[in-house]
Amino acid sequence: MWAMIVKEFRQLRRDRRTLAMMIVLPVVLLVVFGYAASFDVSTIPTVVAGPAAAQAPLRAPFQVVDRAPAEGAAWAQNEVRDGHAAVAVVTGTRTVVLIDGSQLFTAKAALSALQAGRTHPTGGPAPQVRVLYNPGLKTSFIMIPGLAGVVLVFVGIIITSLGVVRERQTGTLEQLAVMPLRPRDVFLGKIVPYFAVAAADLAIVLAVGVALFGVPFRGSYAVFALGALLFLFVTLGIGVLISSVSENQGQAIQMSFMFTLPQVLLSGLIFPLSSIAVGVRWISYILPLTYFNEISRGVMLRAEPIGPLWPPLLFLALLGLVVMTLAMLRFRSYLGPAGSGGGRSDAAGAPGAAEAPDPAAAAVAESR
């Protein structure tokens, strides 16, 4: 038995990724659940419109981000729709409070504060409260647009990383490297099937969500598709990057897990972003799922147009560009020579050379 214990420790010591995961993951989980995981909403971004907007005495948890005495209900509703505020107070003959139901826990906190009478926005009679986009405050309404993103993370990162690293494990990668295929073709050939599967998965999740759970799809399909495309672009790139630094499928799964878990926990899918401790919240803002959630919930539930969604769309586009470029470069070196030559050994290997009209000219005489 002692021999087994010693052997296991030796193997574990050399498997640094597993060791790091065993040590780092519990710490990450502790930090996430200890500081980040909270359903308590302490501040609710609020806009106030109407003639008494300047005087409306709003107290915590409502935090006024804008007062517009010259604006009316339409402006207030647009502010909520576009995600600038979770609550809009429209003053007038009778004060109306609009609450964004797509931010479930924030909406519940707002309702709770209003019903407890701690805050009467205008200090006058009880206001008329309207919960927009998710009047029944159904959890499924906010979860299914987010789960669509999780599906894309799952297929894009985990499945893709396994698919590519499998080539290395089966020894077929070297075979691909000598075939008359351009690295770009191999790269696209590897990711297009996963892209198609992810797109089909997404369609299924949305169809089931709409048909079975009655989740509305109020916005533009094109804007949603654009967001999904950019997000998938990022996740597929991360998947290829992971595969290019993984020796085997076990390592790929470990690394994918390290990328996937924070996305599920910190993207606002489960816990409201505003509830996550500031020290941890910055992580949320570098996770692509955070931005996809913003797009999917905005489009599906609030019919948010493309205008106010440009920041998350732009972020995903830039991140996708960076990740895909890195993935492509890694993939090229992955397919390219590992020898001392330092570069691909052959201009000769390019299909163009193979197709040269003079076959003799196509042959390689590579000199160094």
């Binding site: 089966t170 075979q175 020579p337 052959d346 000769a348 193979a354 076959p359």
Partner: protein, 304 residues
């Protein structure tokens, strides 16, 4: 139409490859002629796979010159079969045919013909991962030669393969050469290397001997004798076990084996290669069989 090879065939000239600080190939020159089968032999870490990877284009050379056809005219079997275990035999070959742009009208009958020649027709719908080792190697070889390349590079095609499958593989290899391909393969089996027209013996990345098997044997310095027991003294350090007896290399070609009872044997390629390795020992004389140089070696007193 395949690219005609340069004069002197495909191959390498003074090629060196370095992996980090380790020199995997040092100034190796090797020629592979169309219509011929050439072999690269050597022990573990000799540089066989590196040389074949250079020839196939899988890696680049750090120095020297490589002459090879474009990729579409090069066939390569990497160590292992290089086939997808979760695709069927037919699917593996269909992928290879598409990658090498073989027209569908040509690919179908050609796949059928190669499967027939390799004895894999009955297994065409079986997953490659469920084939026996020999069948999988045969699949790898026919996949590498499916596009009828000008240069066919095979890394240990027969390792771990049963005798019947080895014979099948040899049939495929010689047919490819007969059709005009320049075939080069790496092997640990010197009896297979003896069937090649040209043999390169590598040791620690350097050329130890090169030429036809007959030339390598003829150039072997000294003589080889067979004895019932391992001789004592320095002669024992130049002996190796073979066919139940001890072979002893007598570098100066004269003198008796201590202990007596030894008889002169007609050396073959295996003896010549072993002698070439022994000749690298510091102080061993005369010089090794061919133009190759040597560094160091410990292949004395071998159980072979």
């Amino acid at each position: 139409m395949n690219a005609p090879p340069p004069a002197g065939g495909w191959g390498t000239h003074a090629v060196s490859v370095r992996y980090g600080r380790r020199l995997a190939l040092d100034q190796v020159t090797f020629r592979v002629l169309p219509g011929q089968v050439s072999a690269v032999v050597g022990g573990d870490g000799a540089g066989r796979t590196t040389l074949l990877r250079i020839l196939s284009g899988a890696i680049g050379a750090g120095g020297g010159m490589v002459m090879r056809p474009p990729r579409i005219q090069t066939g390569y079997l990497a160590a292992g079969s290089g086939t997808y275990p979760d695709l069927t035999v037919a699917e593996n070959l269909a992928f290879r045919a598409a990658a090498y742009r073989i027209p569908a009208a040509v690919a179908g009958p050609r796949i059928q013909a190669y499967l027939d020649r390799a004895g894999l027709l009955a297994a065409r719908d079986r997953l490659a991962g469920r084939l026996s080792g020999g069948m999988r190697q045969k699949l790898g070889v026919i996949a590498a030669m499916l596009h009828e390349p000008a240069l066919l590079v095979l890394d240990e095609p027969t390792t771990g393969v049963d005798p019947v499958s080895r014979a099948d593989l040899w049939s495929l290899i010689t047919q490819a050469a007969a059709a005009g391909a320049a075939v080069v393969f790496a092997t640990s089996y010197l009896d297979e290397a003896e069937r090649a027209a040209h043999v390169l013996v590598l040791a620690e990345g350097r050329e130890l001997a090169a030429g036809s098997p007959e030339q390598i044997v003829a150039a072997m310095p000294g003589r080889v004798v067979a004895a019932a027991t391992r001789p004592p003294g320095p002669a024992g350090m130049r002996s190796w076990r073979r066919d139940g007896r001890w072979r002893v290399w007598m570098p100066d070609g004269a003198g008796d084996v201590p202990g007596g009872g030894a008889e002169l044997v007609q050396p073959d390629l295996q003896d010549a290669v072993t002698v070439a390795i022994l000749a690298r020992e510091p102080g061993a004389s005369p010089a090794p069989a061919t133009s190759g140089t040597a560094t160091s070696g410990t292949a004395t007193g071998k159980e072979g």
